[in-house]
């Protein structure tokens, strides 16, 4: 009904403009109207086909989340009743648990999230079934959406790894007295971030060869810069390390280490 109204409006609009209507214009307008009709029809029928799937997805998620809440609460009550935390602490050597990390809390949380995951899986399966059977035409947005989710996960993991490695390098370099510790840490961080960005773009199938080329240049550049920084900045450290390695007597594992002075012993 809406489509009919839209077509009438289009035609009425064209007449209302007061433009001369020739014999040639009439088929063009009718073709346009027909094309518009068809495309709106296709989109609406696709939405109608997919809608039950989307609804099924949300219903499955909601139901299983609810079940998860119930199971989690039940489990928590039962484990508390049987003093599960105390038993675990006795077996593991009187460990003091924080309320958020107690075995009971952990079991309750795991059961809840397992239910949510199950709901998600069932929801996606329902959506997938309705989409495959009901969709008369392919749409490229939904598969792309799944790629986008994967890309976001990659981005999060890459950021976490970059931060972890940057911190590890910074602390290690500071303790090794490397004067360019911060530069080294930043270099490693950006190395991982660039790698992550390239992987994300590749996953999204954006850019193609340009991304690969740009990534190769950037990655190589950062590695070269770091190699130069280490090579030029830590010659003394490397030579000292090599010397101490060569001079170390394998049988002298109970004698004071070369890194300790004669007057100061840490152990």
């Amino acid at each position: 009904m809406m489509l009919n109204m839209l077509a009438i409006l289009l035609q009425a609009g064209s007449y209302a403009a007061g433009q001369p209507v020739s014999a040639d214009n009439a088929p063009i307008l009718s073709h346009m109207s027909e094309a518009l009709h068809q495309s709106v029809d296709r989109v609406l029928s696709l939405l109608i086909a997919v809608l039950p799937g989307i609804l099924a997805f949300f219903v499955a998620l909601a139901i299983f989340s609810l079940i998860g809440v119930v199971i989690s609460a039940l489990l928590r009550r039962i484990l508390t009743l049987f003093r599960f935390d105390d038993r675990m602490a006795r077996n593991r050597g009187n460990v003091e648990w924080t309320p958020s990390s107690s075995p009971t809390g952990l079991a309750a949380r795991v059961s809840f999230w397992a239910c949510v995951l199950l709901g998600l899986t069932i929801g996606v399966a329902a959506f997938d079934a309705s989409y495959a059977t009901g969709a008369p035409l392919p749409i490229s947005l939904l598969p792309y959406f799944t790629h986008a989710v994967g890309a976001i996960l990659l981005l999060i993991a890459g950021n976490l790894i970059a931060r972890f490695l940057a911190r590890s390098v910074l602390i290690g370099a500071v303790n090794a007295q490397l004067q360019y510790a911060r530069v080294l840490s930043l270099g490693v961080k950006w190395l991982v971030l660039v790698l992550t960005a390239a992987m994300v773009l590749d996953h999204l199938q954006v850019g193609g060869d340009i991304v690969e080329l740009a990534f190769g240049i950037l990655f190589g550049g950062i590695v070269l810069a770091l190699a130069l920084a280490i090579g030029l900045g830590s010659r003394d450290l490397v030579s000292r390390s090599l010397e101490s390695h060569v001079e170390r007597n394998p049988a002298a594992h109970n004698t004071p280490s070369p890194s300790q002075s004669e007057t100061i012993r840490h152990f």
Binding site: R92, N94, F164, I171, A251, P256, H266
Partner: protein
Amino acid sequence: MATADSISDVLETATQPAASLLVMLAAMPQDQFESALANLVATFSAGSLLIAAQNEYAADRFPDLRIIAAPSTGAAWTATAADFVNAFQFAEREGVRAILMLGPGAGSLSAAALRELANAVLNAAVDLAMPRYALPAHAGLINAAILYPLTRALFATRVRFPQAVDLGLSLRMAEQLAASAQRFTAANQADALIWPVNEAIAAGFTVGEYDVGPRELPQPAEPDVNAMLSLVTGSLFADIEAKAATWQRPRRLPPPRIPVADAPLADGTAEVARMVESFRFAYSNLLEIWSLVLPPNSLLGLKRLSATSTAEFRMPEMLWARIVFDFLVAYRLRTINRGHLLGALIPLYLAWVAGHINTTAAGTGSERHIETVAAAFEADKPYMVSRWRWPDRFNS
């Protein structure tokens, strides 16, 4: 010496046939091993001894001694979980009354020291006999800065070397330690460190400390102080976390039995400049990480410290106590990765060492300064307990 036993009493006890003592000797270089055996032969009657050794030995050199082969645990520095499990298994199998665990370099222990440790667990109703070594002024600094003050403050014990390489154990103490060690060996961590003093206090056993005089302490195989500090401190932090229910109860520190005796002054000032420089460098780079762990007051103290000249560089005792406590809380809460956390503690420890050397160079005795540090930890225990229970009260 700390105990009132006279040497004659001790000798009499040591030569009693019933006094079956298992001596667990750690793996050590062959010359040290033979020296340790000679020391044992000279100290005890051979019939009262059973020796479990990881070294190869020539039977004809010590024909009177009964020596059994112990499985190699690869512990080159201090006793590990596997050593404690083996010790109890041997003791149970052989029906001995007590165990003496001796680390590498035990040949340098005096005969009187060996007798004191053995007699404490055989006759003096002590479950854990800990030695108190007379070390040079700037030796055992990790112990002086962290292990001793933390153990004393939390577990209310004056044992000066909580991770001593020589120990006397009663049978029930050995069983307790073996049970604790078993958890590590079952998890394939046979080289994990065990903290006997903490175990004894948690189990309500009696701990005695005995002045054993000078001793050559073995050094870890790993020459990197950074790795070793992380290993030892991390192990102690984990043990403290596991025994939180024990140390949170209020306890009274027993009065000192062994008078504080300062070692002769040793010059270490040449190292101070390097350590201070290392701290300043860390301050300019690691402040962001420290600020995740330390409250603003401590950060302010570190800022002031970084601006102090090398000659006047001293880590205030209260500031050091707060730093260690806050790192311990962060270890428990996993505020940052535990490896990162312990790595970030190293420059602060070096700053403490620099301050300690400056303090002793200025005339304060080394042991007296260590006692002052330990007293500061003790005084600040309420802060530790409060932060442990309510970690969100960051600025209290």
